[in-house]
Symmetry: none
Subunit: 195 residues, 4 copies
């Protein structure tokens, strides 16, 4: 049997090309033409599948958020102890971020653009949801007497702020170091909010 030429799956090609461009040049500096030539799809095809540059970014971010969330899975497991959940949340973010530094930059760029450009409202919504550890979950921990009773916006900043901050400036880091750093930040996060 002859291996049939797989269907090109244009949608996928376009997404891949767009991601490569966004990571390389940033969202603003990427033109549709860049994506067109990199994906070898036609302009029309791109618009056939996506409403515009913003929709492309949205689709990609959705995927990125999923990839990241996978690493933080333990944070959402209801069986986890508060400490485990919080440490998983921080570690997940940091390890994902240190492994994908260009994704971090891309997400940062989208976050700040989205706060100005109404066309990117869906992106804003998406990124706001990306807070792995939810407010409800934290409230549960407060009720259990495990953590300090703080407004979630503050608790969130205390727990994840250092990681976000570090990632924003960090370059590529060897995998073994990443684990140690993740551990360090996870410990600090737990110390910052424990009861």
């Amino acid at each position: 049997m002859i291996a049939s030429k797989q269907p090109p799956d244009r949608r996928r090609q376009i997404l891949d090309a767009a991601l490569a461009c966004f990571l390389e040049r940033g969202f603003v500096a990427t033109s549709i033409a860049d994506i067109r030539s990199r994906s070898r799809a036609s302009t029309g095809s791109i618009y056939h599948f996506f409403a515009g540059k913003g929709a492309l970014a949205e689709a990609l971010l959705r995927e990125a958020v999923i990839g990241w969330a996978r690493l933080s899975a333990a944070a959402l497991d209801p069986q986890s102890s508060p400490e485990t959940a919080i440490r998983a949340s921080v570690s997940g973010l940091l390890i994902w971020g240190l492994t994908n530094p260009r994704h971090v930059r891309f997400m940062e760029e989208m976050r700040s653009l989205a706060s100005n450009d109404p066309d990117l409202a869906p992106v804003r919504a998406l990124l706001d949801d990306g807070q792995t550890l939810g407010a409800a979950q934290y409230a549960g921990m407060v009720a259990a007497g495990a953590v300090q009773d703080l407004p979630f916006s503050i608790a969130h900043a205390l727990m994840l702020g250092p990681s976000y901050s570090y990632l924003r400036r960090a370059g590529n880091i060897p995998a073994d170091q990443a684990d140690r750093i993740a551990d360090l930040f996870a410990t600090a996060a737990w110390d910052a909010v424990r009861a």
Copy 2:
């Protein structure tokens, strides 16, 4: 003495208009034409004083950084104890940020754009300098046994990360609350790095 009509100080007018636009619409969405009509200066005038849009942003950021640094003055006073210095650094950032939330957004946007666009290299340099408490100062505290011996990039993230993170999402906050929040984050920062 005749009341002389003051010179209009075009440079100032242009900067003010540019800032207003950048804060309102973001850097990317602001065109020179926007600044022109808001400042009531001519295109030529703008280019007479500034090399381009990037240079305008740079000049404004320089001013913003100064305004913010003023609030963190105690952080740099060599007389200050380590705790005072660190608390001042965090408080300065938070109070300035809560009072000027749109400046925060503007700086965030510039930071992420600058990391992609080579034209904005001067901006990147400027924002990287904006780390009030310097590495050298922290090294001194380590030597004095006052704080943990951490790489500065990590210490910096632990101390200021929560504040940056909080500011990014916070809206306008009444001044009296700002003080209490600043205090909370300042305490957390000190706890995170004290020996």
Copy 3:
């Protein structure tokens, strides 16, 4: 007997959707995509039945012209007296036009586009034929001494011009008023050309 689901008659659906779009937005502003989504037919179907946007308009105009002609039937009846024929021609136009003001607008648009766009030549031909009362018929009336001996282009303008002109600016008008107005213009038309 089982109620058979009627065949959807795609052709009809497409025509209806196209007409609705043309009347609503105008021919130029209507895209095939608009017609596609309104008719719930596929792009391919549309092109299966019609050669293009122009052909769609042509088919619709043909129908419109027929609907209008029905109202002017008496004008073409060889039994009619000259006065009856002319009055019927004017009334038919006016009543049809006042009842279907958006069709009037559509026809006007097509007429002017057709005079510039060679692709729309069939449309031009169609609209030129739409002159209910024909030149030959008018010549017969001249020979019978019933009307003035004028070039038909002039006679036509004298008889139908006021109606066209009125329709172009008129909005929706209640049916009873339409009759009175039609009568007024019919009388004027007859007075303008009677011997």
Copy 4:
């Protein structure tokens, strides 16, 4: 003394080129690129002076309306008798139209496009104003017992409708014939509304 090269007056060049294109191909079929190459101005220049294609058409129509109004001057002279005024109004339209048949086509196209496209609202307003003989003036004639007491929209259609209708189909006509035809329509107009 050497004849100095006159300033190119880009604005004028652009208008002239645009008019030539609009008359030749119609508004819809004319692209900015067409105007650019015909005027030898840059795209930027065109947009420096005009907000867009619609604004160009508007400017040209304003001029056209003026040119035509000049021919109908006597219609507006308060000294004129009702008959003179009405005849002047009709003659002015017809002679202008027969002399500038392509302008007529252009105006017709703009009128019908404007009724669908909100961007062309200024055009619509402009063309609606172009009714040389105003409603107020007609009301005066009614009061003086010179003409029939008809709603102005109807009187207007009776007086000018035939001319509009004729012009829409007429091609180029020799100047001497134009006068005779104008006279014929002017007489018909007066007969249609005289008391």
